[in-house]
Symmetry: C2
Subunit: 351 residues, 2 copies
């Protein structure tokens, strides 16, 4: 016998490639092509290093308060973590402590089943329909919790709020998590439903629309009771997850709403232009409400297009998974980057 027999073996989530060279057009991890609000850099440059010798505020009050004000909820309804991955990991560990399976779609954020396996949580993947839509009736069955990414990733498909509410109505005994990582790009948040449903939890992130993937800030908004449960587990893992520098700069990204709206609007306009151009080139895709487009080509294999683009230093995402292996997930960059993408695709397709 060896110490290795006591090791928990897992197959970890593989994040999108982070190329280390500079001359790359990076459209593979849904990052924002614009910098964060100007106040963020200003706050970083004012950082007093002497404050670093002290532990940071355990409650991340600055960020929590900024979010509570922005979303018009109580600070006690906000949980902040090291990216929405940390938040969702805590949610799985805290709220899905049941023998019944947690339900989520077969095609969705590919971390959900990783957390379920890690924490020994039973789960069931529910097939999306042929158009990559969730059939709400599939969620009318006994379960230990429900997770819906809305808009969904990597498909970009948005489920109307009435259907989210329908699922909530049919599941008063389950926690329903709506992962709204991409909600700011034209979809509708389930936030107004919080008043009616204590079992609803909404998860969002600073990594996409707030241009701060590098800061690692995610958050959940829910009932005070649910946030308290998550915090209890969080304080059993790590009392201080949000570093002082990140707390200082994070709040700045929330306060500057004008800048936030400006960059989101720009990305939406670029997305709509990209949709038109991709259509002209023979691509089809579910209508996207996110900062990416999930596209397949009429005749060319996704994998071949992926390799060609990579050879031209354009990185998009290709998932070698059943049902979606002929699709590419293309993040929305700047107008200039998307023009280069379209030109490169034209070259490849010889249009």
């Amino acid at each position: 016998m060896s110490w290795e027999e006591n090791v928990r073996r897992v197959e970890p989530y593989v994040p999108g490639e982070q190329p280390k060279c500079d001359n790359v057009i990076k459209l593979n991890t849904n990052e924002c092509p614009y910098p964060p609000a100007p106040g963020v850099e200003a706050a970083a440059h004012k950082l007093v290093a002497d404050r670093l010798r002290l532990y940071p505020d355990t409650d991340a009050t600055k960020i929590v308060d900024a979010l509570a004000t922005y979303y018009k909820v109580k600070p006690e309804q906000v949980f902040v973590g090291v990216g929405s991955d940390d938040v969702l990991s805590m949610v799985f560990l805290t709220l899905f402590h049941s023998d019944k399976p947690v339900l989520f779609p077969d095609i969705t954020y590919s971390f959900y089943d990783v957390w379920a396996k890690l924490y020994d949580i039973p789960y069931e993947c529910i097939l999306l329909d042929e158009d990559f839509c969730i059939r709400k009736e599939d969620y009318y069955r006994p379960n230990g919790g429900i997770v819906i990414a809305n808009p969904n990733a990597p498909t970009g498909v948005f489920m109307p709020l009435s259907e989210i509410e329908d699922i909530l109505q049919h599941n008063p005994e389950s926690v329903v998590v709506v992962d709204e990582a991409y909600v700011d790009f034209g979809a509708t948040s389930a936030l107004p439903l919080l008043e009616k449903y204590e079992n609803l939890l909404i998860v969002q992130t600073f990594s996409k629309s707030r241009a701060m993937a590098g800061a690692r800030i995610g958050f959940a908004i829910g009932s005070e009771k649910m946030i308290r449960y998550i915090n209890d587990v969080k304080f059993s893992v790590n009392s201080y997850t949000m570093s002082f520098p990140v707390q200082e700069i994070g709040a700045e990204a929330v306060k500057d709403d004008a800048y936030f709206r400006e960059i989101v609007d720009k990305m939406i306009r670029t997305r709509e232009w990209t949709k038109e151009e991709l259509s002209k080139l023979g691509f089809t895709f579910p209508d996207s409400y996110t900062n990416f487009i999930f596209a397949t080509h009429r005749t060319e294999r996704a994998e071949d297009i992926f390799s060609y683009l990579k050879s031209k230093n354009i990185y998009v995402r290709h998932f070698k998974k059943p049902r979606i292996d002929n699709y590419l997930r293309i993040s929305i960059g700047t107008d200039e980057q998307m023009q280069i993408l379209i030109d490169t695709l034209k070259e490849y397709l010889k249009c």
Copy 2:
């Protein structure tokens, strides 16, 4: 039935109080009284916010490489996390996946049993002897892993390396974690034993001797194989735990060895002075190899001293726990702060 029935209920770890007012002498969470290396502030002030829009380096290469160079190990032997709490939490989750109990002392870092409970890991607390020392023979029994804080917290007691090695020799089938959060204040690290023992893992932190509690950086050094296992689980929880700002400033704290030695030496000198003064006032304590002193008074109750000091805006730590509830854990501050502490104690004791 309600959604609350699926909630994992825990009793979370309660960190030391973080008073929000400024005119406090804070000797309750073992923070460093000096700022981090000058390069840290410089790096923060050079931060390019545009880089924040991208995900940070998943491998925290800058910090890992700086540590590997400093400790003369391979980068593949270094794991970095959000404080040593994050590192230890990952270690518990990854390496203690056994039906046999994990062993650690009854008086030690009070997070160990919190993680064990959270992750459903069986554990046994082994009594320290009357001098708060570990009896190595107590660890000659079947177990699912061993955790030893060395020097121990909150006692400050250091166990000689020969005894750590003895425990390793008796436990080739277990992972032996040596938590060296306080090792830099005059104790000896088990690092040289890594060459002989693949089952040894050493955990350290930037929060004490490196004056960066606010940055949340901890690390583990072990065999390449063990680090790979921990990383696999880490990547199943959160691909990106170390934010870009923290990666930028963290490496600077490791590179400036002269500054590091200077502040550590200062703290050791202050500790030795404080020991003498406390002795004169009727306190006794195990000899401390850390940046705190674990002291009890001949006649006065710890709780009363604690309350008096708090009323004078001096915060120390008091644990309401069996065997140690008549002790105070006093962090080492600046000379000036310790002088005020001693003066205040004199007032109270009417010396």
